[in-house]
Assembly symmetry: C2
Homo-oligomer: 210 residues x 2
């Protein structure tokens, strides 16, 4: 009956539009009017739900971190062990950013635009998970399946960074290969292969038994 929006809906629409626009054009390249137009409301209406443009940016970042914390258990509890577990975790990671490249783009932009704040964000949010991932890498390392000159902590960060950048600029960079849609496929497959072969000293061919 009531075609009027329920409260909270407008906020969600504003957040969604802002996330998409800011990921595409940046914070400075996105005006409150752009967001208002995308939602179909007036500019003051936007500022009724969020007190300032800066608050909208914070909310967009916060929603990304929420999704991240939500996906963390799935990432960490990815089944199996050893090389199989790596593939499972890496696949989940690719899915997380692949299903919404805007997340990756927003994170890259934040790193460029506000390096100091972004550093703190990384330390506060990624650090806990980083510890667990590093532990896993070190465990595999002690079992002698991995490269002995591997820097576990640095590796985890760089692998994560590769996934983020791949999804942030992948469509642009992968086009340098060729025009076909297979270009993206090859690109993503090679990213996974690089991360895997940089981790395991003996490249996994076919899992025998396990």
């Amino acid at each position: 009956m009531t075609n009027t929006r329920e409260p909270g809906d407008a906020r969600a629409q504003i957040l969604s539009a802002a996330a998409r626009l800011m990921a595409a054009h940046g914070f400075d390249g996105t005006s409150l009017q752009d967001i208002a137009d995308a939602v179909g409301v007036s500019k003051p209406a936007v500022l009724h739900h969020y007190p300032s443009k800066e608050h909208i940016r914070a909310a967009v970042l916060q929603s990304i971190l929420e999704h991240w914390r939500e996906a963390l258990p799935r990432l960490l509890l990815a089944a199996s062990s050893g090389e199989g577990r790596f593939d499972a975790v890496f696949t989940e990671l690719q899915r997380f950013f692949g299903e919404s490249p805007d997340r990756a783009r927003m994170l890259v932009r934040e790193g460029l635009d506000r390096p100091d704040e972004f550093r703190k964000l990384l330390r506060g949010t990624v650090r806990p998970w980083l510890g667990a991932a590093t532990e896993y890498v070190r465990t595999g390392n002690s079992l002698g399946r991995q490269h002995d000159d591997l820097d576990a902590e640095a590796y985890v960060i760089i692998a994560l960074q590769m996934v983020v950048f791949t999804n942030a600029l992948g469509p642009v960079v992968s086009a340098a290969i060729d025009a076909g849609p297979e270009g993206r496929e090859r690109y993503h497959r090679e990213v996974a292969r690089i991360a895997r072969s940089a981790l395991f000293a003996r490249p996994p061919k076919a899992p025998s038994g396990q």
Copy 2:
């Protein structure tokens, strides 16, 4: 005697300031007044040397590409062969972007802000070099020293991408490891190790003979 600037000096100063500001704050986050202030002239003076802000952006990108074309011979002619040549090329690549992270930041920003134009830029500028690099990787592959499931073209692009991103966001991301300056060192070393071990099936320990 004459403390007056010779012609061309002002243009170079504007270009330098614009490159630094746009790399740090983006195109939309940099005003003509910001550039004018950085150089110490008026805004109309800036617009006398470059007809518009857009022309300044084009000039900044152009200067990066000039440096790139200038560094290309050094990159391609990096001595030795096989794994030694890889290290030489990769080191030169790291130096190119490492000596001016603003270049890397500007490229990443362009990829985010103007994906279509950036794609054309990649195709026009990086493509020729890409062919040579891919050929080199394929040659090594046929000699059986490299992973047989390696996608040469995709690998080259991703390796290049890793160097660009490492230098664009390195100081921010590497801080996630720890506060010390050694963090950056470890970070860069691990990037090189990942690229190398993803390329060569047998990790190089010590060059014997050759």
